[in-house]
């Protein structure tokens, strides 16, 4: 009985619940709920209130231990199940695309998968219970996609092509809407479509909703194709902005349709045009306003960095909803909010928050994109919406395609008169072929009012067919077309300092030439804006700290260095030659390999010594120190082979100098709601500081007095080595490359190596004079980098390019300079041969 009841119950619920799933996605959205639930509202209520009753009756006999409360969680549960399914779908599609075929773009595959899922639902329910409802789409799926697209918009490229983008987005869209609508109407009047209940205004309304090139579809396809950046920004910017324009246009025509044909006069048309302008520009300005608000907000989040990432989403969404409330263009509002705030937000926020925003944004956008395409497929499996009219559907397809091409060529022809670099014919072909329609068109079609437009279902099915046709067919053929036409692809460029440097130089050159010619050109405006922006806007919207060190070239340089350091570490770890890990078994460093190869050509003599030195270190069980809880260094050398006793003593000394006291509970997890705890306590920092200072002072003193305390060790060490390797050229500097390397890393990657700060060998120490690398002895502090940088990056041997940075952080230090001179003396004393070699 239980089973039977369950089944019935479930069946009922799925049916009712399913109807509302998507509209329920935002639970607070009352309006959406009312619209879609209206018909099933009473039954729904019944199921909610009656069924618990049932259960109570059943369970009257005793206290229920567990109860099945499906209806409590029904709506969120179904939503999350669909999100889960969408995630799986995306996963499988990506995997499929990756391994099996890459012919069909992801978006197309998702739609096809949607067909299958829709078929399953249909098979189970005999009706399509899941649909993509306009409110869900416009309130919960679209905003994050637009925000994502605009937040990551390459600003400079966008604004330098803004004129062209606006022309395409505004006039191109109007052109598409008008021509498609009028041509369809003409054909209808000619009798091609048979008997339909559509007037001119309805045709124009349909034309406006089908005119929009969909950013979601376009990005999905063009990202896979990798066209050149100008072409990409034109198509992408156009599709982003013309969505907003389409919605505005749609609303204007919708109002006209509601007004009815006869009551439209010149004044109303004028009002329509005026409202178009107000809605579009009002939305944009509102978005800019919210961008300012957001930038100001992130200026003040210094002490609560954990939530600042959230503001980006909240304010962005607020911009969208506010515009919607004021009946301004919501899409344009969120677009401009994202575009305008990115620079200041990224500068103001903590680096970690910036990363958080980036990832969360991509996550949300990808998620909704997947949902949208999936549901575009699912929606199709429904007999209710399909109304077939061959003439109407085929003609729409044809007109959409043809007028897109004509429009593109027409507007490009006009634009090319003014453009510095004209848009080439091939690019125009790709642009016109990239006119993919997507979910926005469908959403608008589904929004149509059936009372005013009797042929709503025909319009929906036509829209769906256009969407499928463009996304799947044009999506599939886009890649071959781009290849066949030999469209300039995006040069996959690594970040290069010299390019950025020269770009900067070119800007200055152009500005200067314009000045010499005495004409006000593009660069004059750009420069004027930049100056204004720097002086006033940045001052207002940016943290003073962020303002100071944000020189573009320098940040590029910084980024490159970070990248190299990370690559160095990972590459080293991959080769197993660079054990940075503090594993329990061994915390040893093995620099032999890479130095072997790197310096083999430069200084073959040192190599011998180094390998010997290596022995000295390896014979220690460092583990005992790391794990030691006694606040002092204790080395277990008794168990070791005695023949290296002298080495051991050296190493002991070395370790004692570098090791920091191990402490209990270093890895205690601290939970904090607003901060990530960093594994580093005050004492430790103090200790490091004191040690460093002490050793510096010592070396400083010794230089002054002409005594070299460290000499003893080095000498000692050398004797030992010489003793062991009579052929070898004694040189104590060999091992120090290790420290040098890691020191560079420490300077670079304070965050990365934070965890390892107690590890002795990795500390940025200045104590021993021998620690300055041999090249420092030759010339000025910075000179070595030239030689050091010759090698290409990406292998551990190449960390050398980091050297200048490290030196730059230290070379002003007079203590270090003292060290340098000291080392110089010493090396003159002991190992002249090496210098000659170098």
């Amino acid at each position: 009985m239980n089973f039977e009841n369950d089944c019935r119950f479930k069946r009922k619920l799925t049916k009712r619940g399913n109807c509302n799933t998507l509209s329920h996605q935002g639970l607070q959205d009352k309006q959406a709920e009312q619209n879609s639930v209206k018909d099933s509202y009473t039954t729904h209520n019944e199921s909610v209130f009656q069924n618990p009753h049932h259960q109570q009756e059943e369970n009257l006999t005793g206290l229920p231990i567990v109860t099945f409360k499906w209806h409590h969680v029904e709506t969120p549960y179904l939503v999350i199940i669909w999100v889960f399914v969408a995630g799986l779908a995306k996963l499988s599609v990506v995997e499929l695309n990756h391994h099996v075929i890459s012919v069909v773009p992801e978006s197309g595959l998702l739609i096809i998968l949607g067909f299958i899922l829709g078929g399953i639902v249909w098979g189970a329910d005999r009706a399509q219970t899941f649909k993509l409802l306009p409110p869900t789409f416009f309130y919960y799926l679209l905003p994050q996609i637009i925000l994502d697209a605009s937040y990551f918009m390459p600003n400079k490229l966008f604004f330098s092509n803004l004129g062209a983008i606006l022309i395409y987005a505004i006039f191109g869209t109007c052109w598409n809407a008008a021509t498609v609508g009028l041509s369809l109407w003409g054909c209808y009047e000619a009798g091609v479509m048979g008997n339909l209940d559509i007037g001119l205004l309805q045709f124009l309304l349909f034309g406006s909703l089908i005119a929009a090139v969909d950013p979601v579809a376009v990005i999905a396809v063009f990202e896979e194709v990798h066209v050149n950046e100008v072409l990409f920004i034109l198509v992408f910017g156009e599709s982003l902005l013309n969505d907003g324009v389409t919605v505005v246009l749609y609303n204007v025509f919708d109002a006209f349709v509601a007004l009815g044909g006869p009551r439209i006069d010149a004044a109303e048309i004028f009002k329509g045009i005026f409202s178009f302008v107000v809605v579009a520009f009002g939305g944009s300005f509102l978005g800019i306003g919210f961008a300012i608000l957001l930038s100001l907000l992130t200026r003040c989040t210094k002490h609560i960095q954990i939530i600042e990432a959230g503001f980006v989403f909240v304010v962005g969404y607020l911009a969208y909803l506010t515009a919607e409330m004021l009946s301004l263009s919501a899409i344009l509002s969120i677009t401009f909010c994202g575009i305008c705030c990115q620079k200041y937000v990224n500068a103001n926020m903590d680096e970690k928050s910036v990363t958080t925003v980036r990832h969360a944004m991509k996550l949300l956008a990808n998620g909704s994109e997947t949902m949208i395409f999936l549901f575009l497929g699912v929606t199709a499996i429904d007999t209710e919406i399909w109304v077939w009219n061959t003439g109407f559907i085929l003609l729409t397809l044809l007109f959409v395609f043809i007028y897109r091409i004509i429009g593109t060529f027409l507007f490009t022809w006009m634009l090319n008169k003014f453009r510095l670099v004209p848009i080439e014919v091939i690019d125009q072909v790709v642009m016109s072929y990239g006119g993919l329609r997507g979910a926005v068109a469908y959403g608008l079609a589904a929004l149509l009012d059936e009372d005013k437009i009797p042929e709503k279902n025909l319009m929906i099915s036509t829209t769906l067919i256009v969407v499928y046709f463009t996304v799947i067919l044009q999506g599939i053929t886009m890649k071959p077309l781009v290849q066949w036409l030999k469209v300039k692809r995006a040069a996959h460029s690594d970040l290069k300092l010299i390019e950025k440097l020269n770009n900067r130089a070119f800007d200055h050159i152009l500005a200067a030439v314009e000045d010499i010619c005495g004409r006000i050109g593009d660069n004059w405006w750009t420069r004027g804006w930049n100056r204004f922006e720097e002086n006033y806007i940045s001052w207002l919207l940016m943290k003073p700290k962020a303002r100071k060190n944000r020189d573009y070239l320098f940040s590029i340089f910084h980024k490159l260095n970070l990248e190299d350091a990370i690559n160095y570490v990972s590459e080293g770890e991959r080769q197993g030659s660079l054990a940075f890990s503090r594993s329990d078994e061994a915390a040893n460093v093995d620099f032999k390999k890479q130095f072997g190869s790197e310096f083999a050509d430069v200084m073959p003599n040192i190599m011998v010594d180094m390998s010997n030195y290596e022995l000295g270190i390896e014979h220690f069980s460092v583990t005992s120190i790391v794990k030691d809880t006694i606040p002092s260094v204790s080395l277990d050398i008794h168990g070791q082979d005695r023949k290296n006793a002298m080495d051991d003593i050296n190493a002991h000394h070395l370790l004692q100098q570098h090791l920091y006291r191990s402490r209990k509970h270093q890895h205690r997890h601290k939970y904090s709601r607003s901060h990530f705890s960093i594994n580093q306590n005050e004492d430790e920092v103090q200790e490091i500081f004191q040690r460093t200072m002490r050793s510096r002072l010592e070396s400083f003193k010794s230089t002054k007095m002409g005594v070299n305390p460290a000499k003893k060790i080095t000498k000692h060490h050398k004797k030992e080595l010489t003793h062991k390797m009579p052929n070898g050229h004694p040189d104590g500097t060999g091992h120090l490359y290790g420290d040098e390397e890691v020191e560079g890393l420490c300077v670079f990657l304070p965050h990365l190596i934070e965890a390892g700060i107690e590890n002795p060998v990795f500390l940025p120490d200045m104590d021993s004079p021998t620690h300055s690398p041999p090249w420092l002895m030759e010339t000025e502090a910075v000179a070595p980098s030239q030689r050091a940088q010759r090698r290409l990056p990406w292998t551990p041997n190449r960390l050398r390019r980091l050297a200048p940075m490290r030196i730059s952080t230290c070379s002003t230090d007079s203590f270090l300079m003292a060290d340098v001179s000291l080392t110089l003396e010493e090396h003159e004393e002991h190992s002249q041969t090496d210098h000659v070699e170098m």
Partner: protein, 205 residues
Amino acid sequence: MGSTNSTLLKIPNVEVLMQETGLKLVAEENCLNVSPAHIIRLHDRFKALDKEGRGHLCPHDFGAIKELAMNPIGDRIIGAFFSPGKETVDFHTFVKILAHFRPVDKDRPKEPNSPEPINSRSNKLKFAFQLYDQDKDGKISRDELLQVLRAMLGMQVTDEQLESIADRTIQEADLDRDDTISFEEFRKSLEKINIDHKMSIRFLR
């Protein structure tokens, strides 16, 4: 167009100039730009800069342009107008140097035997290169690069940082490892940049 012709008469060797630089005398009909053509315009500008009416320009004439004085590499650009050892620039050279910045027009039929146009990619690059290469030895040395960097980055960056940026830049471009950038290396390292776009001025078309 009477005034145009009368101005033209004052410009020496105008035909040669047009051929060399590709600058137009009269606005083309399909251009919406109906103002007098480039050379005349540049001649007017030249005369305006040449306040003392000597028929040639001196470095201090350029220095009088207010905006140019604020340009971090303005003096180098002024220097590019003067060939080594010369203190003056006449109109002919003036226009020829500005013609570097004319956008490349693809429609114009290419004559097989014609010399490389002055606004070709490599000529544009050469112009940029010589701004760095102050001692004209065909190589950008580290010091030369440092000077430019210092001018462009200014106060925001410390000397050490500047030096490491310079080192890194040289390293990126330096193929033969002589710690300088030759023109060939310069050209190669900027291969991916759309020079036509970056080194062209629209109104010179």
